[in-house]
Amino acid sequence: MMVVPNITADAFRHFAPVASDWPGNEWWHWLVFTVIIIVFILVMVIIFIYLERRIIAWFAARIGPNRTGPFGVFQNIAAALKLLLKEGVNPTNADILIFWLAPIVVFAPVIAVFAVVPFQDGALLKDLNIGILFVIAISSISTIGVFMAGWSSGNKYSMLGAMRMIAAVVSYEIPVVLALAGVVMLAGSLSLNDIVVAQERVPFILLQPLGFLLLFVGGCAEINRSPFDLMEADSELVAGFHTEYSGIKWAMFFLGEFGEMVVMATLIATLFLGGWQGPGLPPWLWLLIKIFIVDFVMIWTRATLPRVRIDQLMALAWKFMFPLALVNLIVTAIQVLAWPDALPLYVIPINWVITVMLVLLGSKLFKLGWGRVEV
């Protein structure tokens, strides 16, 4: 276990065996949580798609789906049934085995990630002591699935989309991981449950605004959210890597994509917004509320912003976010060293001022042309 000074006064409380709300290591615990996670993801994906359609419609001054069921809530269920019954078309040039395998490789890791996400204190499938590392490692597997899809489709649009995806994910892993490192230093643990417990006093978004920003932007880039949705840029590459997919295989990609969105929203809510912590309401409800807030902001950016270009995407990662992530790491390290017991509250304004200054400087430089790299 990493022994790093902790923010809370009772720093090492979580490493001692504590009675959590849920027992671990029982067979029924595993079973219950496996079912909960799968149902949770499927239901959340349906809700996310519904919200995406309705909220984007709202932003774009139109109505959105409102015919199937009250307020159109069953529209996605109808769409899913249609996709299940639809013929799956295999392109002539496709590499069939990889073509069929790719949707599974994309979707499976999304479910696996939730094994370490706490719904309330101790309520998770397995409280791994390397929780964040597990999340990063597993969620990267989806990229391989995307590349498999792009390669095996035998379509140039798919290939271009897949290549962009690889470039983006490889670049954005670095600032994202560095942004997470700041949280890990503050919490003194890699376990997601411990990180949430460490946010009892203040959520880390106040102490780590820069880290939050980096994770949000980098996360959006990793899960193909606008303005970084170059991999399936509908106005350029038709549909990117899943151009050739149809029926349930396409639906798997869709599930995987929105599942990744659920993962990213959950991760941001857990690491920076205090997870299940919150007054009054039950903990799982707090987590859900926070997930939906993050989701709303993601939809907002999608409805508002134009798309960046591939070289600007790369430049943003390497010239802008990577240095900022390093600065964030160093500042956090100094602060954790200076106040080993608990960070005083006056570091909050300091960190916010640093963040605002750095971001303004960065955007100024980005505007001046640093944003372009010649490939």
């Binding site: 774009a60 350029e236 508002t304 134009p306 980005f366």
Partner: protein, 367 residues
């Protein structure tokens, strides 16, 4: 380490989300960079010029609607101006004002479509597009009030216009002008200084001034390069010399300049509309024109400043009831001449953006 790479051919279109119809580009790509481009035209060819030879002079008007179908009024106007020139027909004052009002409304509507689809090509997921269409809807409603049509108006007639303004038209238009102005300000506030749009569109797809002039570019594409050339000022047709307005121009001729020129032109069109609504006189809306126009043998060329550029009709008469030849100068096609030079060297995403900044209409390119 040097990996062996080779360019590959990507067929963009004829059916593609961003080709504004059925345009096809055979792009040779080196990774993401476009190294060669071959535009392929003709997927929407309907032989309008030939069809025009088999119709009476007024029967050609509905055909002209189908050229640039987002700006049918200006096509109508260019054609009837050519025929009036050929036959020596004068147009009553009120009809001239109605022509100007409808042309400027049409210009705003067409620019809204252009700007919206340009931003859509830039990747702003349909929000600006639908906002622009919401405003365009107001204009279309006005046209609906005027002639019962919402897209292909066929409103112009040789010697005037088809119907007089209904009573509720001018009050509705007066209400629309300040509304539209505030909406344009709102969109500017959202998008004019948007970092991503600046990074994507500024300095991208530069059309040099000399090239633009030598290929015969016109409209916002030409004015984006900083050339102050607008037929409403350069060769005033109808009664445009009575109105006060400016010609907005760009600086270096990139995608951003073309986008800005369109937005500013909408403001200028609102200015013209304001003046025209105040000045419009009462009176006849059609001159004394026979049912079957038989212009004397000869030829005439008339041009107007359409939303995409100079729309010109060259009509040749042999003295019969149908034109002997009706050549159409399509601004979209002329502007596209420089497409290859502008795109080669840029990336696939820029290709879509540069192409989108022309705001072509395939109906006009292929005729």
């Amino acid at each position: 380490m040097q990996l062996r790479t080779e360019p590959f051919v990507l067929n963009i279109g004829p059916v593609h989300p961003s080709t504004h119809g059925v345009f096809r580009m055979r792009a040779t790509l080196d990774g993401e960079v476009v190294v060669d481009l071959e535009p392929v035209f003709g997927y929407l060819h309907r032989g309008i010029e030939k069809l025009a030879e088999e119709r009476t002079y007024s029967g050609v008007i509905p055909l002209t609607d189908r050229l640039d179908y987002v700006a049918s009024i200006t096509n109508n106007l260019a054609y009837v101006l050519a025929v009036e020139k050929l036959a020596g027909i004068t147009v009553p004052e009120r009809a001239e004002y109605i022509r100007v009002i409808t042309s400027e409304m049409q210009r705003i509507a067409a620019h809204l479509v252009s700007v919206g689809s340009f931003l859509n090509d830039a990747g702003a997921y349909f929000t600006p597009f639908l906002y622009m269409y919401r405003e365009r809807e107001n204009i279309v409603d006005l046209f609906d009030m005027l002639c019962g049509q919402r897209l292909l108006y066929s409103y112009m007639r040789i010697g005037g216009v088809s119907q007089d303004l209904p009573d509720e038209f001018l009050p509705a238009l007066r209400k629309f002008i300040p509304h539209m102005r505030s909406r344009i300000n709102e969109y500017d506030w959202l998008l004019k200084e948007n970092e991503i749009l600046l990074a994507r569109a500024k300095g991208v797809g530069i059309l040099p001034r000399e090239t633009a002039i030598s290929i015969g570019a016109s409209g916002p594409v030409l004015r984006g390069c900083g050339v102050k050339w607008d037929l409403r000022k350069a060769d005033p047709y109808s009664i445009y010399d009575r109105f006060e307005f400016d010609i907005p121009t760009g600086i270096q001729g990139d995608c951003y300049d073309r986008y800005r020129v369109r937005v500013e032109e909408m403001r200028q069109s609102l200015r013209i509309l304001e003046q025209a609504v105040e000045q419009i006189p009462a009176g006849e809306i059609r001159g004394d024109v026979p049912q079957l126009v038989r212009p004397p043998a000869g030829e005439a060329y008339a041009h107007v400043e359409g939303p995409t550029g100079e729309v010109g009709f060259h009509v040749v008469s042999d003295g019969s009831i149908a034109p002997y030849r009706c050549h159409i100068r399509a601004p979209s096609l002329m502007n596209l001449t420089a497409l290859k030079d502008m795109i080669v060297g840029w990336k696939v995403q820029d290709l879509i953006l540069i192409f989108g900044s022309f705001a072509i209409t395939m109906g006009e390119v292929d005729r």
